[in-house]
């Protein structure tokens, strides 16, 4: 019995000594390649337009009021002061009198969204103009502002910032042809903003354009 106990202690000591050795790294580097899972069900591909009445993918949907509230806050860092007052008109159900959320992109929604975008965007642009730390700005974090004048920005700088805003507001970049048209519009707006000494309206107006674009309100 005593011999058995002695043997067990010895084995335990040997094992402890083994476990303190450094673990060897595998020789093969990590891979992002997909792995064949054998019986995994196939991924659902987008339907062929020919078999889908000319459509690609599912129908786009308008965001709900709750999603709009979060989207505004996420993209600009501030909230539209009237969104709760106007929530019912924007389509939010109260589940007492109206039991279904309206996600119609109708006149009332378009009108109030425009009102909200202007309030939030101009406030954000004004705050950005007074923010000395470029990186903390929301609408033009990578732009060097000289005398509150945006007309001196090069096309490349404008396009860079537009692409940044497109990703910020829509989660996707512009196509090459579209960014040219937006750059042109920004140039005209920046010139006018300088002329009327309303520098906040330069990127503020572009923010309104991003926030009222269909890509902001659909998914």
């Amino acid at each position: 019995m005593k011999t058995l106990k002695t043997s067990l202690v010895a084995v335990a000591l040997v094992l402890a000594a083994c476990s303190s050795k450094p673990v060897e790294k595998p020789e093969m580097a990590g891979s992002l390649e997909t792995i064949d899972m054998g019986n995994h069900p196939p991924m659902v591909k987008l339907a062929d337009p020919e078999t889908n009445q000319g459509h690609v993918g599912r129908k786009p949907r308008r965001i709900t009021v709750a999603q709009l509230r979060e989207s505004i806050l996420t993209t600009t860092g501030r909230q539209w002061s009237q969104i709760n007052n106007l929530a019912a008109s924007l389509g939010q159900a109260d589940y007492a009198l109206t039991v279904s959320e309206s996600t119609e992109a109708n006149l009332v929604f378009a009108k109030f969204l425009e009102d909200g975008a202007r309030e939030v965007c101009l406030a954000t642009a004004n705050a950005d103009l007074n923010n000395a730390t470029a990186a903390n700005r929301v609408l033009f974090p990578n732009v060097t502002v000289m005398n509150r004048d945006f007309t001196t920005m090069t096309d490349a700088q404008v396009q860079d910032n537009l692409q940044y805003l497109a990703v910020r507001f829509w989660g996707q970049r512009f196509g090459d042809d579209e960014v040219g048209a937006w750059t042109q519009t920004f140039r005209a707006i920046a010139t006018r903003a300088k002329a009327v000494n309303q520098p906040a309206q330069a990127w503020g107006a572009m923010c309104v354009a991003f926030m009222t674009d269909p890509r902001f309100i659909t998914y």
Binding site: L46, D48, P49, E50, Q53, G54, H55, V56, G57, K59, P60, R61, R62, S89, G91, L97, T98, V99, S100, E101, S102, T103, E104, A105, N106, L107, V108, F109, A110, K111, F112, E114, D115, R118, E119, W170, Q172, G175, D177, E178, A181, W182, T185, A188, I189, R192, A193, V196, Q198, Q201, G204, A205, V208, A209, T212, P214, R215, I217, T218, Y219
Partner: protein, 476 residues
């Protein structure tokens, strides 16, 4: 995460060719994309639902009794006391039922100018409300379906109407369903049928007025120009089912509404900055509805009175802003402890406003021909009536037998359908085909009234699960 617009070239070309084909041959896939914003035009058939809040005394309005026949001495026999003599403190109230010359309808003393339009209306008397609870009766009449407990069942009638008519309209009103100070429900239609609920005229003005945060006019023009530029092929592809097109149409409608400065038509208390033609039109409105502006001496608040609400209804219909307007036209009628005079005064404010609204619609030409009243159906109702006997406090309590008025298109004119009993004003039992009393007939409920309104407009009334009152419909 936004929808990924990147697709293979092959996929894109297939869809683009599909778009071209459907656009050329009238397919529906891109129909919404091709729609253009329509100019504002009044709806061919408009509807107004006017609610008197609190439960009205029908002896004072739509179901009067002759006080010489229903005397205090006969109370134990008739269980009815008209009480018109209790209004004698105000000499403007008649002490007998009113029957204008040529009228087949007798009215109570509180109906005011509404009675002038007897030749354009039908009255339904003896409706069994099945309830004497405010919320239940109110929601019952709003929906035409008896509530579950006190919870409304189904959509409001206005929502049903817009839900059925709006998709077929070519010139779509910007706010098809407007509910002013009144509940509205939608349980089966898409959002287009939801009512814009406003509690004051200010809420409506907010929709129609320019944004409170102004941009420089040139900058605004740049934004409008940019939005008007042709969309990319990818964007067209993304919008193959029309949501983006619908939104862009809505934005064009916003511009149409703002460019037309429609808000100024609803600002009855100011003509500042109005063009002469608009100012003249508003002056006529102020005169017609007796709205107090400046020192003109008229009694009605231009923003929150029965008259102002009636003026708002007329403007919304005539300017093509709305097709259905539901409105709380008068309140303060739950007079358990009030006097007959309080009930009559509160009612008369609403009836006079309605009378002015009907005059306005009668005298306004509809672009589709005839007058606006020829294109409008007005349903006037309350949740129930008040007891035919006066209680110990000098007021009247809740009573189950009700009446309503239907004015304008769709119903017989100068006509009374049904009757309440001459003992205790019990609910009527009539032949639905004639409206005449018939012991073998049936009672009729708000369901029947609403089914009649729907049927007379050519709409599907099957959700009411009853047949319309054929004897009430025009042309029968």
């Amino acid at each position: 995460m936004k929808k990924d617009l990147s697709h293979s070239r092959r996929t894109f070309m297939k869809a683009a060719s599909g778009f071209a084909g459907t656009a050329m041959f009238g397919g529906i896939s891109f129909k919404a994309f091709a729609q253009q914003a329509q100019a504002l035009a009044p709806a061919d058939h408009c509807f107004v639902f006017a609610y008197f809040g609190g439960g009205w005394d029908v002896l004072l309005n739509l179901d009067p009794r002759d006080p010489n026949e229903f005397t205090a001495e006969r109370i134990s026999e008739t269980r009815i006391l008209p009480g018109y003599s209790l209004l004698s403190q105000d000499p403007t109230y008649p002490t007998m039922p009113i029957r204008p010359e040529g009228s087949n309808i007798a009215f109570g003393p509180a109906v005011g100018r509404f009675a002038n339009h007897f030749d354009k209306m039908a009255i339904v008397r003896g409706i069994n409300m099945n309830t004497v609870a405010h919320e239940v009766g109110f929601r019952y009449f709003l929906t035409g379906k008896e509530p579950n407990g006190s919870a409304a069942r189904g959509s409001t009638t206005a929502t049903e109407i817009v839900g059925q008519l709006y998709p077929k309209m070519t010139a779509k009103p910007p706010v098809p369903n407007l509910a002013f100070g009144i509940e509205t429900y939608n349980d089966r239609y898409d959002g287009y049928a939801n009512a814009l609920r406003v509690s004051s005229s200010n809420d409506l003005l907010l929709t129609l007025a320019p944004s409170p945060t102004a941009l420089d006019s040139e900058i605004e023009k740049q934004l409008i120009d940019m939005r008007g530029k042709p969309v990319t092929c990818e964007a067209q592809l993304y919008d193959s089912r029309g949501l983006v097109g619908q939104y862009q149409d809505a934005r064009k409608q916003v511009r149409t509404v703002l460019d037309a400065s429609l808000d100024r038509y609803f600002r009855f208390d100011s003509t500042m900055g109005d063009p002469p033609a608009v100012a003249m039109e508003k002056s006529a409105t102020v005169e017609r509805y007796r709205l107090r502006v400046g020192s003109n001496g008229y009694p009605n608040d231009p923003r929150n009175s029965s008259a102002a609400r009636a003026a708002l209804v007329a403007t919304a219909l005539k300017k093509g802003v709305s097709q259905c307007v539901s409105i709380n036209i008068a309140g303060g009628l739950d007079t358990h402890f009030g006097t007959q005079l309080t009930q009559a005064n509160n009612q008369r404010a609403g009836w006079n406003a309605l009378g002015d609204l009907i005059s306005d619609l009668r005298e306004s030409t509809h672009p589709g021909g005839g007058t606006f009243l020829d294109h409008t159906t007005i349903v006037v109702f309350s949740e129930f009536s008040r007891t035919p006997l006066i209680n110990a406090s000098g007021g009247r309590d809740h009573h189950i037998t009700n009446s309503c008025a239907i004015v304008g298109r769709g119903v017989k004119h100068n006509f009374v359908f049904g009757m309440s009993g001459n003992v205790g004003m019990s609910a009527g039992v009539v032949d639905h085909a004639t409206g005449l009393a018939n012991p073998r007939g049936f009672q009729y409920l708000p369901d029947h009234v609403i089914a009649t309104v729907m049927a007379s407009a050519g709409l599907d009334y099957s959700i009411m699960r009853v047949d319309p009152l054929k004897g009430l419909m025009a042309g029968t």
